[in-house]
Symmetry: C3
Subunit: 400 residues, 3 copies
């Protein structure tokens, strides 16, 4: 579990690399700053209140709070209670969950990149990671009403609780923020290429590595049989997602598109996350392959809806998150109409809370301090204006 | 074991970084695409057939097949058989071995970089990773004839079974493919520098990290004494290989060559791999130091043979793989003439199967669809022609 | 423990990325070469003599030596003694400590970057890592006189034994070496920007990951309660350090400075290292936050003292190392005047040995072979002159 926590932490480098790789050089410092902000502030907020909002103990099933700060439970004799849980300690639990919490904001970060004001983004992060994410999480992982359904909603490692929670906020933010200058022009969709595909590729491989911890650790025990099966389904879904996206996109667009391949891998990973411990290897391959195909069409669809998502976060995390959550009702050990209905209830509940809260936060910010940088700042880059820095200040070409 | 699997997976980022770092910018997307292709397709192929070709159970010692797909063994009562092996589960075993399988093709990828057509390379990968590698692997790790010798051939973690298997195919492919334009001109050998040494260095350090899993996991148990000794021999051989290659190359060429240092580290790692669990620390240092020296001379030799290997894969994986395999008969607990003879038989057997099969595959591809891009494509870069993409599309220099 | 060792090894990529990111492109190969040199030679030296200098068994408390080479202790029957220590083997112990040893020289490497001659730096590394570090380490971790005080000096994972040991040598080296050309000009302090902030950021996140192993492994057992608490205090201190440094620097300099954020994270990590197992989460947040604030002022102060430290190593490793060591006497389970006094004795002892030995080594080198490259070499870059290589030889811009 502790090693899994380390791997999930490392995902933040994956997200950072992916986001800077797929965006323009002039906004690189801004992207890095946001990502470091999210992981540091996210952890602190989770220690202050998030953990106890998400795991409030006995509560009404919708919202509960066990108090500020974190402290390991004590036995009656005043010593630390080692029986907190089999297989991991209170501290491990906190840290593992804390690493998850920050992920939701990272997803949004990618979607709103290259034009959001840093200040309002920081405020949004504090509210969404600090309050919305843990309350929403308590509905299932804290033992809330979605866990109390006759056929409980099932989300093993967060296709909905983590990825869709980020994805819903991403779509709301993108819609309120508008597209980058030049993305949709004269009725045409223009691709705005990023600046560093090697780092984007590294980001995806680091995220895949992190998923070993994300899904492996979510078994919440050291049961080797289940943990190892989970790693197999995770990796096969990733592989199938990548191959399927590359195949479909090559058929459709006639070129071997690296970014589609990469997003397919991520789509497969998000897709398997809700049921990674419930699937057979063959189920995992099918779920991943469908996720990969979805990615190709979802990216096109989102473009056609005039939603400008520089890194494809909505397609990967929201659409494949929904697909993965539904897949628990269709494939594997839990498949059945009752389960599918519970999955739909879960998806709808999270859609509701996330859309409403993220709209309230972002719309308020838009109407008060404003959320978008000026046209000049956008054109000249956020790095120069928000940070007074350059990502590669001394980079030179030799003159062969 | 599961953590080791994660580390071996991560080696694919190491290979990708090393290969893009040592090749030219115009082929970067192509290299990344090949590497993502190998890991995703490699895993799927291993699930479909490779694992059961490599571990067929009882068989004739040369080729066997336990059927398509993967499924954990069941007890007579129909529940999962937890006694599959001490120390790891069926699923862990599959995933760990699957991560290895993809490595063989990655080695070839580096050697043929910058001029091979992507389509034929993908076909080669499918055949070589999907069929040749597991059959060859079954000869030893699957309990085949090399494991049945009176003094069994010994290859702890794959100096021969993984590295040489990749290396033999690399040398055949390089020979059939020819050298890059400009490499050998007017009887001169021209160095063609890569484009990103920081990423190449990162690649080597990531590979070293991965070797903790590669060799550590190959103990196939959690025996702490043996596993920790294996990590010590692995790290000392890497260190000695690097220092030795840097020393020899500085004496020979009078400059402190970073790439020789890096290839020396890799040579030391490949060299210790066959006997990492059989050596004392001092043995490991000697084996690594010899491997480092070998690298310097092998790179020169391969150049003189007019074989164009952009990343030094043949020197590192084939030559040091052979050295490491022989070293098992010379140093450590198994040393002796009988063992040395068995090592030679093993090396010869793998040379035979790998050279024949890779020749058949690549020669057939060459005579049918062709394996080499056009001169114009090579000069303008594979990224533009095969992928329609650029690795750093928005990279700009600031104007101080 | 073995996994922790792998993570600590990986910190060397973090240090390398941080150092190249914050220095100029023309010295990149030099930085990479130094870092690969340190980890390879450091490990070999530690095997040859360092481990037995640091853990000499029974000794006079100041200096002892258990002989050259490493060999696992045997039982009377001649078999390996598995009772070496609970929780880890002799080999694990060696490798884990060996990875630490190399860290001290890496810290110096950053401070002297861009102007030191590579040869003398290599000699310094050999002497300091091979002899000074392990002798100094024996004073506490080897059971020496600082461990024998009535209230023993306490340094959990090396705020003083690792970070300050590197930091003291860094400050001596920077002072003897002088500042880079152009850093202090006409009474002005000029910032000399690095060349790759994405890699610098990656370096910090990799270091943070490595600290999971650094502090987690220093529990020297698999006690899950204590290990997991240690990881929580480590991560919270890192987060608090980053946020605090970003906050203070934004108040002071009015821009959202990414490098201050990053150095704050590192400062928090160094600060918590001495007492990571003794603190509550709240203590850790305070220690980290103070470290973050210290960083901002220390960087300014070091500039004002005309000490040119390109990567901020002195502020991070020395100043925050001292702070962290003192904090053990102020916060947490050991807090008290006696402990604080012991911490001061420890800090003073290490200051003494490190300043004296590093001065002797570097001053001797300065007066004999010289330690600084020529003005022309410095201006044109160490890569061209010391290595005859370029870090990005084929990097080109496309012409959109």
């Amino acid at each position: 579990m502790m090693i899994c926590t380390a791997l999930v932490f490392f995902m933040h480098l994956g997200f950072a690399f992916l986001e800077i790789g797929l965006t323009r050089q002039k906004n690189t410092i801004n992207v890095l700053f946001k990502n470091i902000f999210i992981i540091t502030v996210g952890l602190l907020l989770y220690a202050i209140a998030g953990f106890n909002l998400m795991y409030p103990g006995e509560f009404n099933g919708y919202i509960g709070f066990a108090g500020f700060g974190i402290a390991a439970p004590l036995t009656e004799a005043g010593t630390i209670d080692l029986a907190y849980n089999e297989g991991y300690t209170y501290w491990t639990d906190f840290l593992f969950q804390g690493m998850f919490a920050a992920t939701a904001a990272t997803i949004v970060s990618g979607a709103v990149a290259e034009r959001i004001k840093i200040g309002p983004f920081m405020i949004f992060t504090v509210l969404y990671v600090g309050i919305v994410y843990p309350i929403a999480g308590s509905w299932k992982w804290g033992g809330g009403f979605l866990d109390q359904l006759d056929t409980p909603f099932y989300d093993f490692a967060g296709s909905t609780l983590v990825h869709s929670v980020g994805g819903w906020a991403a779509i709301v933010a993108v819609w309120l923020l508008g597209s980058r200058i030049g993305k949709f022009k004269d009725g045409q969709i223009k691709a705005i290429p990023g600046h560093n595909l090697p780092l984007a590729t590294a980001g995806v491989l680091i995220l895949w590595l992190g998923w070993f911890g994300f899904n492996g650790g979510s078994v919440l025990s050291a049961d080797p049989e289940l943990t190892s099966l989970t790693l197999v389904t995770t990796c096969l879904a990733a592989a199938a997602g990548g191959v399927s996206a590359a195949f479909v996109s090559t058929l459709t667009f006639k070129n071997l598109d690296l970014t589609m391949f990469l997003n397919g891998v991520l789509g497969g990973l998000v897709g398997i996350t809700a049921g990674a411990d419930q699937m057979s290897p063959m189920d995992a391959i099918i779920i991943g392959a469908v996720a990969g195909a979805i990615i190709v069409f979802a990216v096109s669809l989102i473009d056609k809806l005039r939603l400008d998502d520089p890194v494809g976060a909505i397609a990967v995390h929201l659409i494949c998150g929904i697909w993965g959550t539904l897949a628990v009702g269709i494939f594997g050990k839990l498949a059945g109409w009752d389960q599918l209905l519970s999955q739909l209830i879960g998806i709808g509940s999270y859609a509701l809370i996330c859309i409403i809260t993220s709209f309230l936060i972002i719309y308020t910010l838009k109407k008060t301090v404003g959320i978008r940088v000026s046209e000049r700042e956008e054109l000249e880059g956020l790095d120069a204006h928000e940070h007074g820095m350059d990502a590669y200040p001394d980079f030179r070409l030799n003159e062969h």
